[in-house]
Assembly symmetry: C2
């Protein structure tokens, strides 16, 4: 491979001049610049990443920590991964992917070795050990999700509390007073995932305030069990007039389950939900819902991290993205008893 020395020799200048021409950090005489440009072309020169990182202490790589919990929903996760990657490239960064098996040690490894300039953490838990590793690191980090103790941590997320509240208020405004709430798989709560808890808390608090009855059904991650649970719950609570489904997997089976019981939407049962936008494009989920935009969240997170890398000392930011309901006509006035 051609080095900066080869380019310098070919262009008849010093290595420092080539370097400055590359970085634009000092004015170069136009003709000199042209000669250098040509030399670069001819020799096919690209600066060595390791050498540059060593000299500048900057790698232009962001670490992305993704646990890939098996119970989580692939299209959602993928949306974040893709969003982070594309946004990072827009700002000149590459993305190093660190997945589950390693857990905590992965963060230490990529930060302590100086492999990355910063870290984005996905699937933040309410009490997340990994945040300790992030605080120890000399590189900045941004969380996608909100932990219990967010002191001095930059966080970005959809406002899942507002989302839960909005959906309950939406049903309440239509006149619904008894709602079936299909939650995420229990494992996700056990894993202490912030968004799962915040959404559920919003639903239970808001419904309590508004005097609504909410029957919770723990959404399974296993398809057959899930369908059975939904059916059983509909039998158990004949008073419910609406279904609030926060379970991506279940949404796909829902049309079938409801049809099996001859329940028309929205005449017999209103259905509202929350799911990733990618999901709606891939499957038939004809329900009024809040669409979580991984792209928007990822983009904000990457921007924030890039800013932090440049100016580490500004105070931590918490950015909640306001949810928006897309009306697909699956909610209406409750059926008359």
């Amino acid at each position: 491979m051609a080095t900066i020395g080869d380019v310098a020799k070919y262009a008849g200048v010093s290595r420092s001049t080539v370097s400055y021409a590359l970085s634009g950090n000092r004015p170069i005489k136009p003709e000199t610049r042209d000669r250098i440009q040509q030399a670069i072309q001819v020799l096919g020169f690209t600066a060595n990443a390791g050498a540059r990182a060593l000299a500048t202490s900057k790698t232009w790589i962001m670490g992305l920590i993704v646990p890939f919990t098996p119970e989580e929903f692939a299209p959602a996760t993928l949306g974040y991964v893709l969003g982070v990657s594309e946004s990072a490239r827009d700002l000149g960064y590459d993305v190093l992917l660190v997945t589950r098996k390693e857990g905590d040690s992965g963060i230490a490894r990529i930060t302590e070795s100086g492999l990355v300039d910063g870290v984005i953490l996905l699937d933040v838990k309410r009490h997340d050990d990994r945040i300790h590793s992030l605080r120890m690191a000399r590189q900045p980090s941004v969380l996608i999700g909100i932990p219990e103790d967010e002191t001095s941590m930059d966080c970005v997320d959809l406002d899942f509390f507002a989302a839960g509240r909005m959906l309950v208020e939406h049903l309440h405004a239509l006149g619904h007073r008894a709602v079936l709430f299909l939650t995420l798989p229990e494992q996700l709560f056990e894993q202490d995932l912030g968004y799962a808890w915040r959404f559920r808390e919003a639903v239970s608090r808001t419904s309590a305030q508004l005097g609504m009855t909410v029957h919770e059904v723990a959404g399974d991650s296993e398809p057959e069990a899930r369908a059975r649970e939904i059916g059983a719950a509909l039998d158990r609570y004949p008073d419910v007039t609406a279904l609030l489904a926060h379970n991506d997997g279940a949404l796909v089976d829902l049309p079938m389950v409801l049809q099996d019981r001859n329940l028309r939407v929205p005449q017999d049962l209103s259905v509202v939900s929350l799911f990733p936008e990618r999901f709606g494009r891939m499957f038939s989920v004809p329900y009024t819902a809040i669409e979580t935009s991984a792209t928007a969240v990822a983009e904000r997170a990457v921007r924030l991290l890039a800013q932090r890398i440049e100016r580490p000392e500004t105070p931590a930011i918490r950015e909640l993205i306001a949810p928006v309901i897309i009306d697909r006509g699956s909610s209406a006035l409750p059926r008359q008893p």
Copy 2:
């Protein structure tokens, strides 16, 4: 951050001794080794990745090129990404993720700068421009998928031709003579994706050899259109006794579509398919099928690349993973007319 010099000073040895203790590349007196170990502990030393890469010309990073075609199926793609990441870590490598927007230039960027030791390419097309960039690179690469011209390229993939043939033969053996073949979204064929074409070709060739009639239905990527197409095709070809569905998105809607038409599986219609294993765990797809194991393919690809990185000159390998049918009882003798 502590450098190797700090460790050397603390342990009272030279930097080279610390380096050799780290690499194990020459014997070190046990007591010396212990002192060094302790110094590393106390100072919290981790070797700088850039410096090491510069000195050794090895980054321990594999590039993973993933186009993330929107028509493709998230669980499938995610399976490969996750599989590559985990397998790479097992061998000591990190993974740098390069996604669509950049396309071709991304490969040049990460190889020419020496950022990666090798590249894994996903979603290989039959005629894939990116392979040219890979051939130009000084680092080795492995394709997940088989291009038309695989000269001197390492390739790993599920044997999609064998898969298509197996499923057709399976139906033929049961006595089916007219089959509806629901293909992947047309866009994937237009994108020239190898696996889409190979599977389809296997289906059409095998059925021709066996004297079977195959009606193709172009699977849409848009959910509503897809369901309509399936229904229309079932009406159009009343002679079909079996459905061969190679369309992940459609599989989820299928139970509903078939129920709408009062078609029982397998009494009225046999259904066989091919889908990623992750998919079956997430959704209810009760069909006899070949399960594509992204994990297995990814693991082979990573191993192959690691070998290439160590010994670049051995001849190129093509590794096709034999498909296996999982019987879920959705195929039976054809209904009597």
